[in-house]
């Protein structure tokens, strides 16, 4: 069905003129593709500002003592950097951008089930983002609690915690509604013949993600509301001075925030799966195993939150229970890695930029995941908890995982989104520099952590100096790579690329339609009569 693509009489979604023109036409559009792109532009802006904050932090850490800023500024920076990156970039991340753009197309639908709700989610996202970022400028200075808002410090500090927490609450709502929309869409709008087990695997990961969003986010929402109530009304929930239990706050926070890391990684894994398949021109190895592992990650991931709290004073029983379940959650990830590798076997691999990003993803994801195993084990976590080791772990797996997947997906679907082609050679050069810088930046942090340098440290002892220098230099290399990648993509958009409907010979439905897609995706809803990836 991928062959016949005689269309072009309908305007594509980028050019389409509805009731309103220009910017307003976008801001009022309920077209899932436009909403996806609006997420994309907003997210890139936030991402770049978060990136600049990261760069500033690294500059400060290039040597002991004060370099650029005071401790208060630094503490504000890592808080806002964490908030921006987590709540504004990676949690919506791949799901909100590429899920919105391609989920309906991949299952053969004209839009999501609730297009207006979808637009509403975007507005919530923007409002939440404004409130979070507003906490920088309004009130008593940027919050300085870390993105975790641990009580009782978050209840005591003079800074603008209420604002930041409220913003995170709103963002949570946006995330819930997106998840809800996707789940209903997958239940209701699959094209005729598109059975559950024929859905592309990216959709399956979004399905799992949707459930986590629905069931985990409200818990942190209510926790944040309690913090707001405690700060504004002076009632006691978590402040030990009023009888509260600060450890309960940590439980509630991580009941959400651990599953949230799987909100970040699942869609990323889905996108990587699509790319690996397309570029090896071969159906996936172990479709069912991939589906089961996605759902298993979503499910088991719900019960491991305590591994962030091994040193908090939890009961010993709880500690080993959480440690044990944490190790179990690594298994489905392992299954995915093995299946990706096996998919390449006897393929006919097309060496293009998105594929290289995907391989980069697998590599850094493994390093991140393996360091997760170190953290999951009790004895070793006692040593490296709250040190630079943890910082290295999550940058490897969040930035390395979700971030790499984001760029991989961007390079993969770019021709579909814009109908343009970028310069593959420059993109590859950018990737190599990016990859080098990335490892230089974050690998030394593992060393620092094992040496014992705590995280959230504005200043450090001279014994930690050398790895910090390497790390800072790495951040510059990474920056150069990132700039090359982004400029290359921007130039492709401006320049005149060739228009191509299916440049990589993909077999999922989005490759069977025009690039860029027309407003309602399909001239007529397709009927599916084969498995998800029918390479012959």
């Amino acid at each position: 069905m991928a062959e016949h693509t005689e269309h072009k009489h309908e305007p594509n979604y980028l050019e389409y003129q509805g009731k309103y023109k220009g910017l307003l036409g976008w801001l009022t559009s309920t077209d899932h593709k436009r909403i996806g792109l609006m997420y994309f532009y907003a997210m890139m802006t936030f991402f770049l500002s978060g990136v600049v904050m990261g760069l500033l932090m690294k500059l400060e850490l290039i040597a002991p003592g004060e370099q650029l800023m005071g401790a208060q500024t630094y503490n504000g920076l890592f808080t806002v950097h964490g908030l921006t990156m987590i709540f504004l970039f990676v949690i919506p991340g791949v799901a909100a951008v590429f899920g919105n753009l391609f989920l309906p197309i991949m299952i053969g639908a004209k839009d999501v089930s609730f297009p207006r709700l979808n637009l509403f989610s975007w507005y919530l996202y923007m409002i939440g983002a404004m409130v979070v970022l507003g906490s920088q400028f309004i009130g008593d200075g940027p919050p300085d609690t870390g993105w975790t808002f641990y009580a009782p410090y978050s209840l005591k500090t003079n800074t603008n915690v209420v604002f930041a927490v409220t913003g995170a609450f709103i963002l949570g709502f946006s995330s819930i509604l997106t998840g809800l929309n996707f789940i209903v869409t997958m239940h209701r709008l699959r094209a005729p013949g598109m059975g559950w087990m024929r859905m592309p695997l990216f959709c399956w990961t979004l399905y799992g993600t949707g459930w986590i969003q629905l069931l985990a986010t409200p818990v942190v929402g209510i926790t944040f509301l309690m913090v707001v109530a405690e700060r504004t009304l002076g009632i006691g929930f978590f402040d030990p001075a009023l009888g509260g239990d600060p450890i309960l706050y940590q439980h509630l926070f991580w009941i959400y925030s651990h599953p949230a890391v799987y909100i970040m990684i699942l869609p990323a894994m889905g996108a990587i799966t699509e790319i690996v398949i397309t570029f090896s021109r071969k159906t996936v190895f172990g479709y069912t195993a991939m589906v089961i592992s996605s759902m298993a990650i979503a499910f088991v991931g719900y019960f491991v939150w305590g591994h962030h709290m091994y040193t908090s004073g939890m009961s010993s029983t709880a500690r080993w229970v959480f440690s044990f379940i944490t190790f179990l959650v690594a298994i489905p990830s392992a299954i995915k890695v093995f299946n990706w590798t096996a998919t390449l076997y006897k393929g006919s691999i097309n060496l293009q930029t998105p594929f290289f990003w995907a391989i980069g993803f697998i590599f850094v994801f493994m390093i991140g995941g393996f360091s997760g195993l170190v953290l999951g084990s009790l004895a070793t976590d006692i040593h490296v908890h709250d040190t630079a080791f943890v910082v290295a772990h999550f940058h490897y797996i969040v930035f390395g995982g979700t971030g790499f997947a984001f760029f991989a997906a961007l390079h993969y679907w770019y021709p579909k989104i814009y109908g343009k082609v970028y310069n593959g050679k420059v993109a590859n050069i950018g990737l190599v520099i990016f990859f080098t810088g990335f490892n230089l930046l974050y690998f030394p942090m593992f060393v620092l952590g094992i040496m014992g340098m705590p995280r959230r440290y504005y200043d450090y002892l001279p014994m930690f100096h050398t790895p910090n220098i390497i790390s800072t230099v790495g951040s510059w290399i990474l920056a150069i790579g990132l700039i090359i990648v982004i400029v290359n993509l921007l130039r492709a958009r401006k320049g005149s690329g060739k228009e191509i409907d299916n440049p990589w010979d993909g077999r999922t439905l989005e490759w069977s339609i025009a690039s860029p897609p027309i407003v309602e995706n399909f001239e007529e809803v397709p009927t599916v009569d084969h498995e998800a990836y029918d390479y012959k």
Binding site: F303, S315, A318, F322
Partner: protein, 94 residues
């Protein structure tokens, strides 16, 4: 999914369910007013759960809807219960 099975509950059923719910409420108040020690809480929560089940099944129509709803409600409640249990691994053993 449930498009074609239009089960409409009768008014009488609704009233009957209401009576049962009020009756259960009275029982809860009665039971908790006598000293039962720890069983107090257990009894109250048990009856509340029965009431909740009645509301879910009849008022919220789960009994007559497509089974996907029953399954998902069951899974969600089970996950929530498991979260409580896991949390109490900490508090019980401190």
């Amino acid at each position: 999914m449930s498009e074609n099975n239009h089960h409409i509950s009768s008014y009488k059923d609704h009233l009957l369910v209401l009576l049962i719910l009020i009756f259960l409420t009275v029982i809860t108040v009665a039971i908790t007013s006598i000293e039962l020690g720890p069983f107090n809480t257990a009894a109250a929560m048990l009856i509340a759960s029965v009431k909740a089940a009645v509301v879910l099944l009849y008022f919220m129509h789960l009994k007559f809807d497509h089974k996907i709803y029953r399954i998902t409600v069951g899974i969600v409640l089970a996950i929530y219960a498991a979260v409580i249990v896991v949390t109490f691994f900490d508090y019980f053993y401190r």
